[in-house]
């Protein structure tokens, strides 16, 4: 028995030595951003000597998990980090400086500018675009047909969307006109709900990020639109306590309309081909469309011994082949110079996601987690309290005060 054990151990160590030349890069990705990154990793592993080992981390916990992993010396070599967090991690000195290498890339100047901007801290580049996504409005064409609506006509205003939702709800049963994750999902709501106010020229933070400007007529109007739909029973009851787990409810085929992300286009096309849907830009409260430009930056943990392998992997994702795979699964091209080439032959609806970039915004604040994304932060609380609560004025003033006090405490 002992001899057998020894033999087995020797065998394992021998196989490990022989595999030493092929490195394994450990990498993290957050859940809920579709399959584009997973698929590109799969393709990379199939055709390359080095392998990427991917760990999926729940989107709401990625930041604290990564931060604790760094503190505990267990951090992955690289990860796909929500771009809004790049400045905070770069400022804390935890990321590898990629400036020289990045600037030497022949296509550096055509990489998604908002990603590079958020990936830059004190003139050094710590993050490079990995996935790009924008929020868009989707409608279920089958349900439009059943409700007697023109399935090819994209709604242009929220009055139209509400009226359509009523007709779809009238189909009865568990068919609903609209959906949103209203149970305190800050990330979902900043992505899908703030475009209503951005389109109309308002924002929840001042341009320098130092003043909370939540209470605007535009935001009041946006809240009224959602409240009205909830009151008319056009939204499933489960939405009130959905903390983001059921964000992709649209995929169940019983939701008439929902604001989603470009990633969801990829998920719908590849995994739910039975759903016939159209996409358009999210209208603002006055009809002018807007969008949230989000996605992930690729960042490298400071001091990783596998920097060269990581760079090789990133170059693969920037190659036309890598870009094509990612686009197929819903991530918009990160390289502007080959965007048309990449999108050619792919689902035409992805082009709407690309158009959204022109009208999209991204909030820039070092306190994004505290203010917006935390399930107990003021923004997440506000979205639930204002849309589902009894005291709308109180919801506005509480959230406004709390946001301001968090901003002030962080100065």
């Amino acid at each position: 028995m002992f001899k057998k054990l020894m033999a087995a151990t020797a065998l394992i160590s021998a196989s490990m030595i022989s595999a030493a030349s092929a490195e394994t890069i450990s990498m993290w990705v957050r859940s809920g951003i579709g399959d584009s990154f997973k698929e590109v990793v799969k393709a990379y592993n199939a055709g390359h000597e080095h392998k990427v080992e991917l760990t999926e981390v729940p989107f709401a916990e990625l930041v604290q998990k990564y931060a604790t992993a760094i503190a505990g010396g267990q951090a992955p070599d690289a990860l796909s980090l929500d771009l809004i967090y790049t400045p905070a991690f770069a400022a804390a000195g935890q990321l590898e400086d990629l400036t020289d290498w990045a600037k030497a890339l022949p296509y550096f100047n055509s990489l998604s500018p908002s990603h590079v901007k958020l990936g830059t801290y004190e003139d050094k580049i710590y993050g490079l675009p990995l996935t790009v996504e924008t929020s868009i409005f989707a409608w279920n064409k089958d349900l439009y047909k059943k409700a007697g609506l023109d399935p090819e006509k994209a709604p242009k205003t929220w009055e139209e969307i509400t009226a359509n939702a009523e007709k779809i709800r009238a189909l009865g049963g568990d068919t609903y006109g609209f959906y949103f994750s209203g149970g305190g999902c800050g990330g979902c709501m900043i992505f899908t709900f703030t475009p209503l106010t951005w389109g109309a020229g308002a924002d929840i933070l001042s341009a320098d990020g130092k003043t909370a400007t939540l209470d605007t007529p535009q935001m009041r109007k946006a809240v009224d639109i959602y409240r009205n739909m909830v009151e008319k029973d056009l939204v499933p009851a489960g939405a009130a306590s959905d903390n983001g787990v059921n964000f992709l409810s649209f995929t169940n085929g019983k939701i008439g309309q929902q604001s989603l992300g470009a990633f969801a286009i990829g998920t719908l096309v590849t995994q739910h081909p039975e759903i016939d849907f159209g996409v358009t830009l999210i209208p603002g409260v006055d009809g002018k469309p807007s969008s949230f430009a989000g996605g992930d930056n690729f960042v490298v943990t400071k001091g990783t011994p596998k920097l060269e392998e990581v760079k090789e992997f990133l170059e693969y994702t920037y190659s036309p082949e890598g870009q094509k795979i990612m686009a197929k699964f819903g991530s918009l091209p990160t390289r502007g110079d080959i965007a048309n080439e990449v999108l050619e032959g792919l689902d035409p609806r992805l082009k709407v996601g690309m158009e959204a970039i022109a009208v999209a915004q991204t909030p820039y604040t070092l306190q994004f987690n505290d203010l917006i994304n935390s399930a107990n932060g003021p923004w997440a609380t506000f979205t639930n309290a204002a849309i589902y609560g009894d005291d709308v004025d109180g919801a506005f003033s509480n959230a406004q005060d709390e946001m301001q006090s968090i901003i002030d405490a962080g100065q």
């Binding site: 604290q64 931060a67 604790t68 503190a71 149970g183 987690n369 935390s374």
Partner: protein, 305 residues
């Protein structure tokens, strides 16, 4: 005479000293574990609480500022208030369910072990798993309660139990009672069984009624058991976290942030580990105080059985 008295005294003392050393050796492993896993972490937490200690970056000494900050932190007081509210209600609910159950399963009757097992079963489920199970049960679309109440005609249409504070709070209380009552029942059961049957019989012969026997015999004799059950229940409720985190993510509009949840948020969402440590120390002091008060109120330790 004097020398012999001296030697006998030494002889008498020596074995005593030996037992002292022997005793120390016996408890040494326990002491080592407590030191390693409790005393040292507490000291380290104390050390952290005197710093501004971000999760990323260098800690900086700030003295007692974390502690003074606590007194002006409205969210901390909200969390304390909610935790007190929850502890009070859930403890009463657990005892209200566990005591009758303990009395029920104490008497020898057919199938009594089966009853005991059934009531105790939820205890062996982890609290996190139980919370997840109940999240599904309470789900408005695919769960059990909402459609069931609808079919039974208790509610008009399906109600999303987790969307409003009152119903969500009630759901969590029912879940915790379902989960914990069996454990409290077992503790109370041991207390009940420790009461000598002769005493009850004597009281009955003296003409004491059922209620009188319970009030003047059972309750006083169960004081120590009650104290144990009470302290376990109160401490467990004050440290509650999983059910709020998993079932409601802090509840509709943050109304269900318990103290531990707030400490977690400060430490791992806002990355203020120093402030989180200070809050933990404050919570530790509160728990010690409460336990002492409970022991004193129940006068445990005054008498020897």
């Amino acid at each position: 005479m004097t020398t012999s008295a001296l030697t006998s005294a030494i002889r008498r003392r020596r074995p005593k000293r030996q037992t002292g050393w022997r005793g120390l050796i016996y408890i040494a492993p326990a002491m080592a574990l407590v030191t390693l896993f409790f005393v040292l972490p507490v000291l380290f937490t104390l050390w952290m609480s005197l710093h501004k200690w971000p999760l990323l970056g260098e800690p900086a000494w700030i003295g007692l500022r974390n502690y003074t900050r606590m007194f002006t932190d409205a969210r901390f007081f909200n969390a304390l208030g909610f935790t007190a509210h929850y502890t009070l209600i859930v403890t009463m609910a657990i005892f209200a369910v566990a005591f009758p159950l303990a009395i029920f399963v104490e008497k020898q009757r057919p199938l009594v072990s089966l009853y005991r097992t059934i009531v105790f079963l939820p205890v062996v489920v982890g609290l996190a798993s139980a919370s997840l199970l109940w999240v599904w049960l309470a789900n408005v679309d695919s769960g059990l309660f909402a459609p069931l109440f609808d079919v039974l005609g208790l509610t008009s249409g399906r109600i999303n139990l987790l969307a409003k504070f009152d119903t969500a709070f009630l759901t969590i209380i029912v879940m915790v009672v379902w989960k914990i009552a069996g454990f409290t029942m077992i503790i109370l059961l041991t207390g009940l069984q420790a009461i000598p049957a002769e005493l009850t019989e004597a009281a009955r012969i003296d003409g004491a009624g059922r209620w009188q026997r319970f009030r003047h015999l059972t309750l006083p004799l169960m004081r120590r058991t009650m104290a144990l059950a009470l302290i376990l229940s109160v401490t467990g409720s004050i440290l509650a976290f999983d059910q709020f985190y998993i079932m409601t993510s802090g509840g509709p509009q943050n109304k269900m942030i318990s103290v531990v949840y707030y400490i977690f948020n400060q430490s791992f969402v806002s990355f203020n580990l120093g402030y989180g440590a200070a809050l933990s120390i404050a919570l530790l002091l509160i728990l010690v105080t409460l336990s002492v008060v409970q022991l004193w109120l129940l006068k445990v330790g005054d008498e020897r059985p």
